[in-house]
Structure formats: C-alpha cells, structure tokens
C-alpha cells in the first residue's frame, strides 16, 4: 500500500551511495552550521525582485477594489447586491467563511499535531503553515462580517456588559461559533508568535536599519538563557496539546451551525467530524500549495524544503482524502437510508438538480484524483502534480460547502418555497478579494518574518544521525526534549 511504502530504496549496491542518498534526501541529515542557515534565511527575506512588487501591487489593488471597495458599497446599499434570496438566506458568504476556516485548520494541524506526534518532517514548514492559519482566519472573519445584515452592530454579539443590560444568547450556535473562532484566532496567533521569538532575535542580531528596530521590538529582548528556553518549551508543549481540541471544536461548531438547525440534509449527527476532516482536506492541500510556492519562488528555500516534504504532505493528503470519503459516505448512507421524504428529495436534488455537476465534481476532485495520483511516490514528489492535486482538492472542498449551504437551502419542507440562488452577486469579487488579501498578507509576511524556524531545524538536525545496523545505514532520531 502506498501509505506504508518505505521512502528508502532497499536494494543498493554500495552502502556509501546509500548514505549519500539519505543525506541528500533528508534535511535533518544534511546539517549546515547555524550561521550559514541564518544567512540563508536572512537572504531569503531580503532578496526581492521587481516581480514580487508587481504581484504585490496587483494584489493590493484587488484587495482595495474587490474586497474593501465592494464591501463598503454593499454596506452602504444593502445585501440585495448579493445572490441571496428566500429560501437561500445563507449562501456564498457562509460558503467562503467555512472555506477559509477550513484552510486555517491545516496550520495548527501540521504544527501542533505533528509536534505532539514528533513527526520530524514538519520542522522546516511549521511556521509557513501557522501563518496560513492566522491569515486564513482573518479572511474567514471578513466573510462572516460581510454576511451580517447590519455589520455596524457586530459588537452586539460580543459578550460584554452594555448599556442595554442585555447579554448574548448562548443557546445560539452562532454564539458558540463566535467564542470558538475567537479562541482559535487568539490562540493560534500566540502559538505563531511564541516559537517566532528566537528567530526574531536571530534576525535582530544580523540586520541593520529599520529591520533592526522592528526585530528588536518584536524579539522583546530575548537572549536564549536556559530559563527562557525552559519557559518557551513548556509553553509550546501546553499550546501544542491544548490547541488541538480547540481546533477540533472550531470546525465542529461550524458544522453545528448547520447540524443544529431543523432542516433536511443539515440535521446530521456526523457533521462534526465530517467537517473537521473536510477542513483538513482543504487545509493540508493548501499547505502543500504554499510550501511548493515558497520552495520555488523564494531564494535558498531549496535547501530547507525538499522532495521528502512533498512526499510526506502527499501521503497526508491521501490519508485525509480517504477519511473524507469515509465520512462523506457515512453521512450519505444514513441520510439515504432514513427515508425521510424531504431528505430524499434533497439527496436527489444534489445529484440530479441543476447543481448536480458540482456534486460530481466534488467527488472527482476530492476522492478520485487524490487516490489516483498520490499513491505513486514519484507523482506525489512531483511539485506540479502535487500542486495541481492540492488546488483541485480545494476546488472540491469549495464545492462541498457550496452543496451544503446554498444548494441544500433550496429544498425545505414547504415545497411552495423552493427556490434557487444562482445569481452570482457581490460575493464573487469579495471572494477574489479575500484570496488576494491572503496572498498579499503572506507575501508581506515572507519579507518580514523568517519563514523557516531556524532553531527548530537545528534542533532537529542535532537529534538526527545515521546509524548502521549491520551493513545498512538507517536514520535514527534521538528524543532531545
């Protein structure tokens, strides 16, 4: 089976060749002096071509017009500019909220779960993934605020003492959502910042001018004393373990926005884990896309990001795609078997209705394509193929949310009120705007933040060595923590 395939070829004539192969393959076995790695990372931040600024300017223009311009226009004029109607009260804004929250899940997953399980391949790209979490959550926030009818009163949803003496309604899944997303946004930002402190100190020590002042402020006087490292290590451990249930709760609660409602197709007990796995499906695919992009566009990243990482991410995507298929089938099976006439009508509408092609596209891009491509080691190590599979998986997950939100809303228990919401409204430029905003934030961050956690890479390299069992050289990892 592809998942358990050993990454190392077993038959080799010359063991010395094999050792060289291992060192070339694994970043952890190919150590460079720390000073050199620091220089590589600093250079990757400061080497910027004119193309970067052109792309950044285009993105900034899209954000200004497509996102904030369009949003402002919508606030001033009303939600009739969207494609929503009755019964499609929710549509693309909620699709995109769930989409961005899904993408945000991978950062924590890659960084915290793989840290807990000590999966060593995570080390060079944990920060790249964590940045995605924070930036994607910002986009989700924009989408959910855009969704509100009277966004200028959004603070009424904050559980704070107020003049009206009225507190918020904790019966409402939206209130749980507010608490969960808020917790997740704050804790993932803190989780991004803590392991960044030593790298900011590193950047502070080898920069001048405005960068020096910036890093000096951000590094907060970090020196690297034993005590500082101890506090940091303990805090990171607590964060890694505690942020995982928070991450699961966030997408489960997002699913409860639907599952708690009294609607055919939504009221499903399996929605919680189904949504969590769906989030990982889009999120891990997005991590693969980001990792490939920084590997091929940023200077010196070819040292840190190697085919082994594509390989590992590809396997992860394959496993998650299989889990997603399992949950999808589980949800479908039980709804189909239940025989409720409205649910039956809805399932039929999903497959044979006007959006049927989206439903089939979802199955193809979420299941068929990953399964056909990712089982093959050479294909998943191919950046173009992995990127394409990742992109298609994200298209497929967008389609899944589209099927769940607007398409399912078209069928309800009052056949007189069935209706369609296919008019593309202002949500389209606003979605393109959030994509551009995400890319823009990421591009700017890649100039300001060391994208590779150098100290974590060095720690990993200290822990790895090649041992020989008989004639076979094998990778061995010491548990330093």
């Amino acid at each position: 089976m592809a998942i358990s395939a050993n990454a190392l070829p077993h038959a080799h004539a010359d063991e010395h060749d094999h050792e060289a192969y291992l060192r070339k393959e694994h970043l952890m076995l190919d150590p460079k002096p720390r000073g050199e790695m620091n220089a590589l990372v600093m250079e990757s931040m400061t080497t910027t071509s004119w193309k970067f600024w052109v792309i950044a300017a285009v993105m900034a223009a899209i954000v200004a017009i497509g996102l904030f311009g369009a949003w402002g226009y919508m606030i001033a004029n009303g939600l009739y500019l969207t494609g929503k109607n009755r019964p499609g009260y929710w549509s693309l804004f909620l699709v995109h909220t769930v989409f961005w929250i899904g993408i945000s899940h991978a950062g924590t997953f890659v960084s915290a779960l793989l840290r807990v399980f000590k999966a060593e391949f995570r080390r060079p790209f944990t920060r790249a993934a964590e940045l995605m979490t924070t930036f994607a959550l910002a986009q989700a926030g924009i989408q959910i605020f855009a969704h509100m009818g009277r966004v200028w009163l959004a603070y009424w949803m904050f559980p704070i003492p107020n003049q009206r003496l009225l507190w918020t309604n904790f019966h409402s899944p939206l209130m749980w959502d507010f608490l969960a997303i808020n917790t997740y946004l704050l804790s993932s930002t803190m989780y991004l910042f803590l392991p960044l402190i030593p790298d900011l100190a590193m950047a502070r020590d080898r920069s001048t001018g405005w960068r020096k002042s910036l890093y000096r402020i951000l590094a907060m006087g970090f020196r690297g004393t034993e005590a500082e490292w101890t506090h940091l290590r303990i805090a990171l451990n607590i964060f890694a373990f505690a942020i995982l249930p928070v991450m699961f709760s966030v997408h489960t609660i997002v699913s409860w926005d639907f599952a708690a409602a009294m609607r055919p197709g939504w009221s499903s007990t399996i929605f919680g884990p189904y949504f969590v796995v769906g989030a990982l499906q889009s999120g891990v695919s997005a991590v693969a896309m980001v990792v490939i992009t920084i590997r091929y566009t940023m200077k010196n990243m070819d040292y840190f990001i190697r085919k082994e990482h594509f390989d590992a991410l590809g396997k992860l995507m394959l496993i998650i795609s299989m889990s997603w298929a399992y949950f999808f089938f589980n949800d479908y099976m039980v709804q189909w078997y239940g025989g409720d006439k409205w649910t039956d009508a809805l399932l039929h509408f999903h497959e044979a209705g006007p959006a049927g092609w989206i439903w089939f596209m979802m199955l193809i891009t979420n299941i068929a394509i990953p399964w056909l491509v990712l089982w093959n080691k050479n294909w998943r190590r191919n950046p173009v193929m992995l990127f394409t599979v990742g992109l298609l998986a994200n298209v497929g997950m967008w389609a899944e949310r589209f099927i769940i939100v607007p398409v399912s809303l078209e069928i309800n228990r009052m056949p007189f009120m069935w209706g369609q919401t296919f008019k593309p409204g202002i949500e389209v430029p606003m979605f393109i705007g959030t994509v551009a905003f995400f890319i823009l934030l990421y591009m700017l961050a890649s100039r300001l933040i060391p994208l590779v956690p150098v100290w974590e890479v060095q720690e990993g390299q200290m822990a790895h060595s090649i041992r020989k069992y008989g004639k076979e050289p094998v990778v061995s990892v010491a548990d330093l923590e």
Binding site: G35, M190, L194, I217, G221, H231
Partner: protein, 174 residues
Amino acid sequence: MTDKNLLLAIFEDIDPAAHAVDALRGLGIHDEQVTVISGTPITEAMLGRKHQWSNVTRFSLGGAIIGFASGCFLAFATPNMYPIIVGGQPLVPVPPSIVVLFEMTMLVMLISTFLGVFLDSRYPSYTPKEYVPEISDGRIALLLDCPGDMEATITKAMTEAGAESVKRAEAQVI
C-alpha cells in the same frame, strides 16, 4: 578592579560547555552564578545542570480556573440577569453551556500560558544586557558571576575546557 566581574565564555559545542560547567564547579562557583545562553534549546541535563524553575504551568492552570469561572459567569449568570425564554428551551441550557465552558477555559488558559512566558522571562525588556550576536549563530555562552580575584583562574579554566573566547561581559543594547 571590582571584586565582582561578569565574564562571558563562548563555546562552539555542547561537550566543551559541559566540561566547563564541571570545571567551574570544581573552582567553587555555584550553579546559580552561571547563566547559560544558547541559540538552540539545550536542556539543562546536557550540561549537567539543575532543572530550571518555571511558573508557566502554574500560570496556565490559574488561567484555566479563571477561564472556567468566566465561562460559568457567561453560561449560568448572564441568562438570569435578563431572563428571556427562547424556543421552549430552559433558561440555562446544559449542553450549550458546556460549549461555553470549554471555549472560555481554553481561551483564558492559553492567554495566561502566553502571558506566563512573558512574566517568567520578563518580556519585553529592552534594557542593555550581556549578550553577543554570535550566540544566535549556535554558540553556547556561559555568563559567569565571578569574584574579581578568581578572574584569571577562571579564564584559564575556560580556555582549557575549550572556550572560543573568554572576555569581560558588557551590557549592551541588543
């Protein structure tokens, strides 16, 4: 010459640093007088030193308790301040309250863990400190609080243990 000096001995690797820690003990320097500064996390055990005391777990436990309490306030107290009946549900519904308790507990727990690191490590502090930029290149530095009359002995011992350089430490803006 003052009777107390700060010396900064810089080592390239763990082994010489561990030897130096032993040598210092032999010379009668207490562990508390030595501060280890490094660019990668090296555990105290690697240098044969005592485990560092950290309050982070306590902060985090305290935060969890405060978070749970504030969750209780939101879930159980606020509905009674302005009782509103919705959807035939009890005024204080049990299952949704569990969600509120969980999220508030986690939120305040993680915030206080984060603040715990700040408080324990005294961040942010921009006062001048004894530091050299080579440390973030992976060097290990021992910052010694040594009696003035032992300076020469210690410098010699450090060099013998394999120190790259031993010099008077000067606080500088970092």
